[in-house]
Symmetry: C2
Subunit: 275 residues, 2 copies
């Protein structure tokens, strides 16, 4: 069993020092509790609601920044996945997520699908999300809006991810009473069709007038919510990640071997699609 | 606005005459109410829980069968989508769905993803689901388990479907209290990520000990349920199908143009996937 903690923090725009305090406190708390995987929100280091590119740049750090290394140190034996505003070696800004463990920085992922005004501040990534083999399984990382693109989550699942960690900042949206947030419903369905565990770490706090969904959750391989935030914004779940490696549903049904790649490869042509 | 009716019928195995009565009564009722689209369950003509291939064969009909033509006649000006056990010209059995309108049979779709024991009775299809241009928009048809394969529903949506009609027979499965059935959640998420309307027509009645989800629903382009069965098993919704043609969410976000086909085309290679 793997102990997973998601911390629904409230970073503030531009407050690198304060945000680092929040992150380190959360990571230390989880490490002390024996967590194996610790997930922090999207853009934990920088906050989200920038007014202009200069403000985003002032809040960005490189992947080699000692702040990220300090996350790894605080985590002890745990794996940390968290979002940060990345200043690339190319001078561009990326909405990125780091995967860290006791050996340091294992991977950096640059968000492929930038949501709305993020396009004014960040450059989209160009590389496939990493799937990192850790002491606690094969951990993939995507960021927020990425979850809404089944092309990506399907490929990650087919590639053998045991868990998809998704740092998010989900702006609050209207929904019918008694329904999960749309973004949560998408994550649940993604887990279910792919028989893969998903851990979403949303943020909280109203930032420059923007409220958030506060939809952090750990979802099992059947697509059900196994944990949502407690009063402190902590989501804690114990999950058997090895279940993600078995895609069978009955003796005659298997979510992956029932796929029809022979047909999928012909769909674009059948429908006259390009790109 | 398009008036959509789904009839959650209870066909009986092998009772072709009785099942035809059920179907015609449902279609006539909807036609009288001015429905534009009428959706019937999977395998409406034959029932579902076969004991052996011979029983399935005895319940199968060709796509040219006058029973299907009678559906079109009863529908008046409406479009009918319904499932039937098809005897192909090749002598094989298919779990198929017909799309009919006042001009007759518009398309036949053979289910690509056979669920569980269906594999003992049916041959899977090999062709892309049809997207039929009708008086009420571009109507795609898939059957039941097909909905759990995002490769298919994504391609259908990219191809410009206004509505995905899904005849289903959803076996009842356990779920946490207060949650939608997993299959309904998948349909809702599919509608939401693709900004496409979906109409699922499930069946009812316990057949040879098998209870059903009774999850029939019409889902709007935001992924919300707009209609579920009334006490008669009728799902009726009025929906603006033209909304499926607009994939924008904000002035800077669009579910389709935000896709990254440049990256998707490299994912299989990046992850070392084949097929």
């Amino acid at each position: 069993m793997t102990l997973i903690d998601c911390h629904q923090l409230a970073p503030s725009v531009g407050d690198l020092a304060g945000n680092q305090e929040l992150a380190l406190a959360a990571i230390s708390q989880s490490a002390a509790a024996g967590a194996d995987l610790i997930v922090l929100p999207e853009l934990t280091t920088s906050g989200y609601v920038f007014t202009d590119p200069e403000e985003a740049r002032a809040s960005s750090v490189t992947a080699a920044d000692p702040r990220l290394a300090a996350w790894a140190t605080a985590a002890g034996g745990a794996v940390v996945i968290g979002g940060f505003a990345e200043l690339g070696a190319d001078g561009r800004l990326y909405n990125s997520a780091a995967v860290l463990d006791r050996t340091g920085l294992r991977a950096v992922y640059r968000k492929l699908h930038l949501w709305d005004q993020e396009k004014l501040f960040f450059t989209p990534g160009t590389e496939a999300p990493p799937i990192v083999t850790t002491a606690f399984g094969r951990i993939a990382v995507v960021v927020c809006y990425d979850l809404e693109f089944p092309e990506l989550t399907r490929a990650i699942s087919l590639a053998g991810a045991d868990l998809i960690a998704a740092p998010t900042n989900w702006p609050l949206a209207q929904r019918p009473e008694a329904e999960h947030a749309g973004v949560v419903g998408i994550a649940m369905a993604t887990a279910r069709v792919n028989h893969v565990a998903i851990a979403c770490c949303d943020r909280t706090g109203v930032e420059r007038g923007q409220p958030w969904t506060e939809g952090s959750c750990v979802i099992d391989q059947d697509g059900w919510l196994v944990a949502t935030p407690d009063e402190r914004g902590l989501v804690r779940a114990e999950l058997d990640l090895t279940r993600s490696r078995d895609k069978t549903m009955t003796s005659l049904a298997d979510a992956f071997s029932d796929r029809r790649p022979d047909v999928y490869s012909r769909l674009a042509q059948a429908y006259g699609l390009t790109g």
